[in-house]
Amino acid sequence: MTDPEKRRPSHNLHSNWWLNHTRYRQRDTRPRPDLGATWWLRGSSYFFVFIRELTSVFIALYLILFIGLIAALYIGAEAYNDYMELLWSPPLTVIQVFTLLFALFHTVTWFNLTPKAVRILKGESPISPLFLITPLYIVWLGVSSIVLWMIFS
């Protein structure tokens, strides 16, 4: 039998493959059909991922509003009251409601995906995903309850 060591590649293969690849691409005229800019319309699973990513835009918008709120708080009581009035205006209320819905959607999708990133085996089979997902929901509900209690008490 051959020594396994001899059968194994001994050199560090193409550690600079990306450089070669870029040069290669530049002079390559062969077609490379790709999924195109409308890849997210290729089916429902692509579409939901796109929506999940799009939620970040609303969360970024909300963060801008939130930074404004902190700035108003820093300036003084009058600025804060004016800003709160602005936040309750119909267009900003709509944005905030959408942000909340998107944040919930984003949170739920990511919680449900957690077992993909963490694979714990019990013996030879993976533990039930519920063991990983349930604690996340419990912590989420716990923290949200504390925040609601602080706001309304």
Partner: protein, 249 residues
């Protein structure tokens, strides 16, 4: 194109070197419930147009060479039955996100380089077994990586991935799944060497977790999960290198 009751239309992408426009040829193929798309291609090659170029070998979902886009979705043509599409026309194109070599054949060099870069073989460390003795592995140790070892390098996952589509340098699903296959092997000590490639910009962090790679994988490998696990490991290795800059080896 009209549809006969016992025939099914195939619209096939054609390309020869130097061609600048998209080209398709249409063929009517006898409809047979037992036939897969690969049978239809073989029929065309044998009886209608011998110039059609495509790859195949095992005809049983094992060799991974017959992957093509069927009606826009990456599939193994030896596992896609005509009955799934009949009587509608079937559009057959080369796998997306690869350079086309000829007709339905794509250039796999790019994938092979990416695969090489993650060193998909056992790298020995200190725990080498005594000469002429086998490595021992328990069923639980095998279970850790077995799923990823089922990959047949068909690259359907690359064709389903919008990140691979937009960023050709992305190491990609199968290569990362195979890196994990060896990282999780109790006989291997090459994890740190592979992390260099996985932690680079073109490595795991390019992935936005679309997850379609796992949906199209014909072998249930779940490369999307492998990538997320590798992200977690990369992040931990990075944190460790910050805390212990020197003692990380």
């Amino acid at each position: 194109m009209t549809v006969d009751t016992d025939r099914i239309p195939l619209k096939i992408s054609r390309y020869t070197e130097g061609q600048t426009t998209d080209g398709y040829d249409e063929y009517m193929v006898p409809y047979n419930e037992d036939w897969v798309v690969l049978d239809a291609l073989n029929y065309i090659k044998d009886y209608v147009d011998g110039s059609l170029a495509y790859r195949w070998s095992c005809r049983m979902g094992v060799c991974g060479s017959c992957g093509m886009m069927i009606n826009g979705k990456p599939k193994l043509t030896c596992s896609a039955f005509l009955s799934e599409y009949y009587p509608d026309p079937i559009v057959v194109e080369p796998l997306a996100n690869f350079r086309v070599e000829r007709d339905l054949i794509v250039d796999m060099d790019d994938f092979i380089h990416k695969l090489d870069s993650v060193k998909p073989w056992l790298i020995e460390g200190d725990s080498v077994p005594p000469a002429n003795r086998e490595y021992k592995q328990t069923p639980a140790q095998l279970a850790k990586y077995k799923q990823y070892s089922m990959c047949i390098n068909c690259t359907l996952c690359y064709s389903a991935c919008p990140v691979a589509s937009n960023e050709p340098e992305f190491v990609g699903p199968a290569a990362i799944a195979l890196a994990q296959r060896y990282n999780l092997d109790s006989r291997d000590s090459g994890k740190e060497q592979r992390l260099d490639v996985l932690m680079a910009n073109e490595g795991v962090w390019d992935c936005t977790f679309v997850g379609e790679c796992s949906n199209v994988c014909p072998k249930g490998v779940d490369p999307a999960a492998a990538i997320q696990q590798a992200k977690l490991e990369s992040a931990l290795a990075y944190a460790k290198s910050l805390i212990m800059p020197k003692g990380n080896k």
